[in-house]
Symmetry: C2
Subunit: 122 residues, 2 copies
Amino acid sequence: MDPKFIEVIKDTTPATIVTVNAAPAHVVNTWSHYMQLIDDHTLLIPSAGMHSIEADFATDNHITIAVGSYKVPGTTGTGCGFHIHGTGKFETSGAYFDQMHTKFDWIRATLVVTIDDVEQKI
Amino acid sequence: MDPKFIEVIKDTTPATIVTVNAAPAHVVNTWSHYMQLIDDHTLLIPSAGMHSIEADFATDNHITIAVGSYKVPGTTGTGCGFHIHGTGKFETSGAYFDQMHTKFDWIRATLVVTIDDVEQKI
């Protein structure tokens, strides 16, 4: 995985998750540093609510996640941002849920993201 | 306007703009502190690209903008975030364009957002 991306998602900035194929699209948020990158294709996100996007997943579970850090130099030198494209699944038990529940005792589920690609935007 | 909201959008964090009624929805970004709040119903955003959401506006110009700051205490004490709901219009001349172009000489347009409501999410 791009080292810049790993640096960006360590920042304490908002991450925005969008169900791009829903009508209307729903928008939910977490903090970037709450997300745990497991490998190049797996990202775990703690979920308390996020019911709107979970309902959308019944029809289409494609999501775009926007992350960025003004502290990390990007293509113009003043900040770096990425769009993560992938699909999501909410898990309320199992290894990924347990791993996240240990860190975040307030979660109801873990949003497991299968990453298709990570696109640097700036 | 809510003083917390004003504090949040001064932070150097990503702001995410989504055309929620487009199919698919498009997602673009700016930095929160680049946005200029003119009054309770008008927010100016500098635009270099943002062509995807501009194309969507031809059909429907409703947008949701997600902003947040981990530095500002919110409902759980650990960070504060808002969703701005409104409509957008790209302007390439006029007072709002000139005002933003003075601050940001690289813009091609100013995205003028008419705010319907600002919803605190956390």
